[in-house]
């Protein structure tokens, strides 16, 4: 029995090693995805082009302006000499943010009164706008403290349409937030696609027909197919975690063994779906299409891309039917908050139920279809 399973595992590993596409998917894809997502979510929060209309032109206004320039959130593109010019620069897209310092700005600080600076933000991209506001507030607060006048206030004005999205910290939390999601997605994608492919390829090539007349039992074939792809999935996760740590400086806050354990639980459902797809596809193309069909709701509804809190009620309920939804809560809990089972059990239980049910049904179907 084990010799048969071992033969299949060995063969699968040889095939993985010889297939550049599979290798790329296991090793390069996780790193690439992490870099892409990491930067895509990063570039929007810094180096925002800024124009300045300084009517005060004193030591305090210069201090505030240089503070804006020094943070890295803003790039000072130039000084203009009217409010209209600030608005025009934003309209034209030359600037995302305008800073207006009224004539009394410095005097008010000296007189220990509330000193008003105005931040005008292009709100067409809420993410950018919010980052600009946070950064502006922080800089103003910092400068206030340094001049020991806790009363420099940045205010907002004008064509700002802010939507209350989940609060991103203006540091690199977006990357932190993306990494657990990506790991979940990579785990699901890889096990699902590779497992389905590994079986459908044999059907396409006619080798499955051969295996059926050998003493291999269908569950042995199943185990032999699953183990290599679970192993590669964990390799992919290791690559992703390594890139996260080395490149983005993101470390897992909680227990790594717990992460691995609960990932295995999550894999049950992806493997199950992969097996199911393999039983209804005749070709790898069909399997791919089905896999994308299954993956899309996972990406959109699980909270990987969009916060579930802002979704309509019915969509939120639909999201509860997706295993990745629970796994993301677990991943973010362990990686970002460092919490353990005592907090996570509410997500672990549905994940386990899904895993056992989906895998069990698919495995039964797989046996029936093969026998």
């Amino acid at each position: 029995m084990w010799s048969r399973i071992r033969s299949i595992i060995r063969k699968e590993f040889i095939q993985i090693r010889r297939d550049p596409r599979t290798l790329a998917m296991v090793l390069a894809l996780p790193a690439l995805q992490l870099l892409l997502f990491g930067y895509a979510f990063n570039t929007v929060v810094d180096h925002l082009p800024l124009v300045i209309f300084d009517e005060s032109k004193d030591a305090y206004s210069r201090q505030l302006i240089s503070a804006f320039g020094n943070t890295g959130y803003f790039d000072i593109r130039g000084h203009v000499d009217s409010r209209e010019a600030v608005a025009a620069a934003i309209d034209a897209g030359d600037a995302k943010v305008g800073l207006v310092l009224p004539p009394r700005f410095g005097d008010d600080i000296l007189r220990r009164q509330v000193s008003l600076a105005q931040l005008i933000v292009d709100g067409s991209d809420p993410n950018t706008a919010q980052t600009a506001l946070f950064a502006g507030w922080m800089i103003a607060a910092a400068v206030s403290e340094s001049v020991q006048q806790p009363n420099v206030v940045a205010a907002r004005q004008g064509a700002i349409e802010l939507r209350p999205v989940v609060l991103y910290n203006p540091s690199m939390l977006s990357v932190n937030f993306m990494i657990p999601g990506l790991i979940g997605l990579i785990l699901q994608f890889q096990t699902l696609i590779l497992t389905a492919f590994a079986i459908v390829r044999e059907r396409e090539r006619g080798t499955l027909e051969q295996l059926v007349v050998t003493p291999i039992k269908s569950w042995e074939l199943m185990i032999g197919k699953i183990i290599p792809y679970v192993a590669t999935a964990f390799m992919a996760v290791a690559v992703a975690l390594l890139v996260a740590r080395v490149w983005f400086g993101v470390e897992t806050a909680g227990s790594l063994p717990l992460l691995v354990l609960l990932s295995s639980l999550f894999l049950l459902s992806s493997l199950g779906i992969g097996l199911f797809i393999s039983t209804i596809s005749q070709t790898q193309t069909q399997a791919m299409q089905l896999a994308v069909f299954v993956m899309l709701p996972s990406v959109l509804l699980s909270g990987f891309m969009f916060p579930r809190e802002s979704m309509p009620w019915i969509i939120q309920q639909l999201g509860l039917l997706i295993p990745l939804t629970y796994f993301l809560q677990i991943l973010r809990g362990i990686m970002l908050k460092g919490v353990g089972l005592e907090v996570l059990w509410g997500s672990v239980v549905p994940l386990a139920i899904f895993g056992v049910a989906v895998f069990g049904l698919s495995a039964a179907r797989f046996r029936k279809r093969l026998g």
Binding site: R4, I8, K11, I14, Q15, V213, T214
Partner: protein
């Protein structure tokens, strides 16, 4: 001699398989003896594959019974599998594995033990002439090599019974000859070979041929016997102008039992007591057909098959071209 040496390797009685209303295999009864090369001949869709799947223990018969190597195919399918070799026309090889890795994989699947493994692999590679290619990827082999490697994989565990499902499809004539030499070698060593084919010339290699059509057994004998007994009368080869027209005319000629077109020639089965070569020739001339030649010939299996089935649904003599 023990009982198992004389007992038939395959024995089926009234074996039947229905898929819904369709009767794929209808009450087959036959036996195959040890060391025999047994051909199962029939057109596509005649029930060959269904029969082989039942004999391999992967498809349950609707009714009837069958024993393979002493095991009941309906209840002991798993035990049958360990004892048989199976090779299909698709040469189920892993193209991204080397020659040796393919053999090793199937050896593992059949649990060929560690100590004897290396010797067995060398033996198989020598038999297939693959010693110098053991590190080559199976996908880069040409058709004949693939076929021999597939055979090697199918017999890695020394099975006493080997199923070959359309084994020489798409292989050049030289490789086919070499392949059949290997098969005869195995049969000589006591291996029973059950081969399905829809190529008539392939069936000529067998000790006995079962002709199957529409799920029923139409004839079962050695190729020579089939040619002798199944054809009642004398077979004539006729060449003439406008053969289509001539064939239609001959259907109505006195003493003619059967007419079949073979390219530009016509095969005519006649009753020698009622007609002769001359009278056939005269009959055609009288009806305005310019006759080239009329001569008696030995029937081929194809003639037998056409005679038995009534229609030329079987691939013709040029079987290597598909």
């Amino acid at each position: 001699m023990t009982a198992s040496d004389v007992a038939p390797v395959i024995s089926v009685r009234a074996l039947t398989k229905r898929f819904g209303d369709l009767v794929a295999v209808d009450a087959l009864t036959f036996e195959v003896q040890r060391g025999e090369v047994f051909a199962f001949l029939g057109p596509n869709g005649s029930g060959k594959s269904t029969t082989i799947r039942m004999l391999c223990g992967i498809l349950e018969p609707t009714s009837g019974e069958g024993r393979v190597l002493g095991f009941d195919i309906a209840r002991e399918g798993e035990r049958v599998k360990q004892q048989i070799g199976y090779m299909s026309q698709r040469f189920a090889l892993y193209e991204d594995l080397t020659v040796r890795e393919n053999l090793e994989f199937y050896a593992g699947v059949y649990q060929v033990a560690g100590a004897s493994l290396s010797g067995r692999l060398d033996e198989l590679m020598t038999m297939a002439g693959l010693q110098d290619r053991q590190g080559q990827l199976a996908g880069s082999l040409s058709g004949g090599w693939k076929q021999r490697l597939a055979l090697g994989c199918a017999i890695v565990h020394n099975p006493p019974l080997l199923f070959l499902d359309e084994p020489t499809a798409g292989v050049d004539p030289v490789s086919r000859r070499r392949f059949w030499t290997m098969i005869y070698g195995l049969a000589q060593g006591g291996v029973t070979v059950f081969v399905t084919t829809h190529y008539l010339d392939e069936a000529e290699h067998a000790n006995r041929v079962a002709m199957i059509h529409g799920g029923t057994l139409r004839a079962l004998a050695s190729p020579a016997e089939l040619k002798r007994s199944a054809m009642q009368g004398q077979l004539l080869n006729v060449t003439c102008a406008s053969p289509m027209e001539a064939a239609a005319l001959l259907e109505r000629a006195p003493g003619v039992n059967e007419v079949a077109l073979y390219g530009a020639a016509i095969h005519v089965l006649v009753d020698p007591t009622r007609t002769s070569e001359e009278s056939v020739s005269d009959w055609l001339s009288d009806h305005g057909i310019a006759v080239g030649n009329v001569a008696p010939i030995e029937p081929t299996l194809e003639d037998v098959f056409v005679s038995l089935i009534g229609t030329a649904t079987v691939a013709t003599g040029q079987s290597t071209t598909r």
